[in-house]
Amino acid sequence: MMEEKIRMPFIASVITILILISFGLCAGGEKYPTGTINNVCLFGPGSAPDMFNRVFSKQLEKHVGVPVVTLNKAGGGGTVGISFLVSSRPDGYTVGLATLENMIVPTITEGKPPFALSDLSIIGQIVTSYNVLVVAADAPWKTFQEFVDYARKNPGVKYGCPGIRSTLYMRMETLSRNANLKLIGVPFDGRAEIEAAVLGKHIPMGLMDLAGARGLEAAGKMRILFIFESPAQAGIDPKTPCLATAMDKSVQEKDIDISQILLVNSKTSDEIKQALNRTLEKISKDPEFHAEAKKMEVMVNPIDGETVMQKKLPSRLEQVRAFYKEMGWLK
């Protein structure tokens, strides 16, 4: 028989232990996912990546059945967000959306790399943005070829770009150099300023994603001179010159596209990675997602994670590194 004094605490401890055990069993036995997933966004609220993150999170939520919350961790052009992803628990409850460049750049610049590429696993590529070159409606160049000839003869034509460290600038510079266009980029703080500058004739052309250009183009105030991706898929005049039609193979191969990929901590279990992979496949076939993507002016362009990691990533790494070296941004 137990003494009165120790009976209550004894019962309490037994009950506590039982509860803890049952928690442990629960945690072990349930299938992933059972709780909220955090989707890290590398930029602040209101930005284009943030909007995409929210739309995608909604889709993800639909297919996995648990809440998916956008978590903004802005800073350092993606460094803060990815560092957070790498340091969070590899239990599949923290994922992130980024471009390959967001991953690569922090590892090659600014002193000690905050993380290594091997810390990340790519589940898969999801969408690709459409990027266009626009001019004011009454610009002198009626065709892209006219412009190319003009640019080659008159080096130093200015184009507005959304910031000198942006992937878009890298893309245009790559094109300009490979096609010998001798263009000079003028950095602006975002698409709105570029549009205003082009419309106001302060610069002859602007580089931006299609989403912004659409409205002004439809109203006839701006013309899309060139699109990097396929015009038919983008829903604009199929005769618009694009990389495939206006540039030769060597230029096309070196192009840097801007695509969003889904990332997790590489230490995450294979089981969870595969679950996410399957979900991603389902999403890319979901017509609702296609409709949302169309509204956001991005192309659903799924590529399996393994392929991205084996093929796209290494060649992109080389390109980015070479570009940064030229610009003097490598430490």
């Binding site: 602040g44 209101g46 000198i164 106001g200 610069i203 439809a218 109203a219």
Partner: protein, 505 residues
């Protein structure tokens, strides 16, 4: 006339019960967000974006826009009550608004702020309706060289901002400009003053800087007082502005509307530069400029009206061209796109209910906010009567939640504390934080426009005077500088004869 029929149509849309409801929800949430320092309108709008997915585009934008104006109204509340600016456009309101609160004039300060905002909003709406397309074309003529010259004007006005010693204000301006240059240089991509820290790569963020320099430093300064105090130093007087207040405010309000509306049209500063220009102009033309900084009601009426008028003005490029002049408008446009509406010059013809509905709901939103905020004044006054030793930790907590809730960065809290201590030391030594923070906001804009212009002009400095708008604006700033210099010179000659302290002209 087409415009009138459009406006009437807009009201028909905006007054539909559904839209009225969502407008109300929007302004309520916006006010709450505005009062909570740290979470700006953009943060609140992003969190609520998914809520709008099932709604019609007009309704969604009406609600989101309501959050925007609500946050503007709410932001002034915290600036006045506890000297914490939640948004760059609320900084100037802190200067005299908080002083009025300390003198027991919290009610009139909040009241004139709400009324001024309402008048500013209404008049800018009228301006919007009649001038939207013309103004948009005019605004397009402003390119990087013109922006540079405009900001030059603002910078020269900085001289008038200071209350006390001119040399100390100058040092604060220089420090503010330096703080603004921390981070990746936008033109060459090279990092400045980051010392290897990835946090500093993006520069020093406004929220930790402002909350620290104004809010936390105020908290530390108040610790010196006896423990039983409240924020009110003097006895509480009337709850609403009296006739005297009105007489003094009517001028600033009218001027603020004009200044605000036109400032809002141009991309870049918008509401921020509007408040700043309004304040300095009111101070310059006032019959007793010495009152500014001690609780002059003109220093609240003008800027508050200006910043609300600027929100109206910032709709001009959005509705006419689909070009957002600031990040909040950019978000609204993104939301429109998500709802399948393509913003641009065709908006008025393709989606008239969205176009006119937004305009009409602006007015309705402003009305709702006025009706919401005036009765709330009594509540705020009661709140501030709580002893400071209980109030203070709550204020700090809300600052932290506000800042963390959006950026999820604890380094921000560290920075806020650092700037709080720095602000405390500076204020003890009679250095004012206001010129610092305005310089910090304007500096990067100035440098960016300058260097962008030079890239466009291939290095030719003459571009700034070749272009007519830019040349005229530069001439104005030169005139302001010269006039300030002359009056300073005259005053110091006078003072050195009498002996004693120096003040800027």
């Amino acid at each position: 006339m087409e415009l009138i029929s459009g406006v009437l149509f807009g009201f028909k849309v905006a007054l539909q019960p559904w839209n009225l409801l969502y407008c109300f929800i929007g302004v309520c949430i916006g006010t709450l967000i505005g009062v909570l320092p740290g979470i700006g309108p953009v943060g609140a709008m992003s969190i609520l974006l998914p809520m709008t997915f099932g709604l019609s585009p007009a309704t969604a934008i009406i609600m989101l826009a309501g959050i925007f104006y609500g946050a503007m109204y709410g932001g002034s509340t915290t600036s006045i009550m506890v000297n914490i600016p939640g948004e760059p456009s609320s900084v100037i309101t802190c200067l005299d608004g908080y002083q009025m609160a300390r003198k027991g004039r919290l009610g009139p300060a909040l009241g004139i702020s709400a009324l001024g905002s309402f008048i500013g909003g209404t008049f800018s709406l009228i301006g919007l309706i009649f001038l939207v397309f013309i103004l948009a074309q005019v605004a397009l003529k402003f390119g990087p060289p013109e922006y540079f010259s405009l900001i030059c004007v603002s910078m020269t006005l900085l001289i008038y901002l200071a209350k006390g010693s001119a040399s100390k204000a100058l040092i604060m301006i220089l420090i503010g400009l330096m703080l603004g240059s921390v981070g990746i240089d936008k033109i060459t991509g090279i990092a400045r003053f980051d010392f290897g820290s990835s946090y500093l790569l993006d520069g020093i963020d406004f929220i930790p800087l402002a909350m620290g320099l104004f809010g936390i430093s105020e908290v530390l300064m108040n610790l010196e007082e006896t423990e039983e105090r409240t924020i009110f130093q003097s006895k509480l007087r009337n709850l609403l502005p009296n006739v005297e207040d009105w007489k003094k405010s009517i001028g600033p309000i009218l001027r603020g509307t004009v200044i605000g509306f036109f400032s809002g049209v141009l991309p870049g500063g918008g509401p921020v530069t509007a408040t700043f220009i309004s304040y300095t102009i009111e101070k310059k033309i006032s019959s007793n400029p010495g009152q500014f900084g001690q609780g002059a009601i003109e220093g609240v009426a003008g800027p508050e009206t200006a910043n609300n008028a600027a929100t109206g003005g910032s709709f001009v490029p959005v509705l006419a061209l689909g070009i957002p002049p600031n990040v909040i408008m950019a978000f609204l446009l993104g939301a429109l796109i998500l709802h399948g509406v393509t913003p641009g010059p065709l908006l008025v013809s393709q989606h008239p209910q969205v176009f006119w509905g937004i305009i009409a709901s602006m007015y309705i939103g402003n009305c709702m906010l006025l009706l919401l905020n005036l009765p709330l004044i009594g509540f705020w006054v009661k709140l501030l009567k709580i002893p400071y030793r209980i109030l203070m930790p709550m204020i700090v907590l809300f600052c932290i939640i506000g800042s963390y809730g959006i950026n999820n960065s604890l380094v921000d809290i560290l920075m806020m504390t650092l700037f709080g201590v720095a602000g405390y030391i500076l204020r003890k030594l009679d250095y004012e934080p206001a010129p610092l923070i305005v310089a910090y906001i304007l500096g990067p804009m100035l440098e960016k426009s300058f260097r962008q212009s030079l890239v466009i002009a291939d290095g030719r400095l003459s571009i700034f005077v070749e272009r007519p708008i830019s040349a005229v604006t530069l001439a104005i700033s030169a005139l302001i500088l010269i006039s300030a210099g002359i009056s300073y010179f005259r005053k110091s000659k006078l003072k050195s004869r009498e002996g004693g302290e120096r003040r800027p002209g």
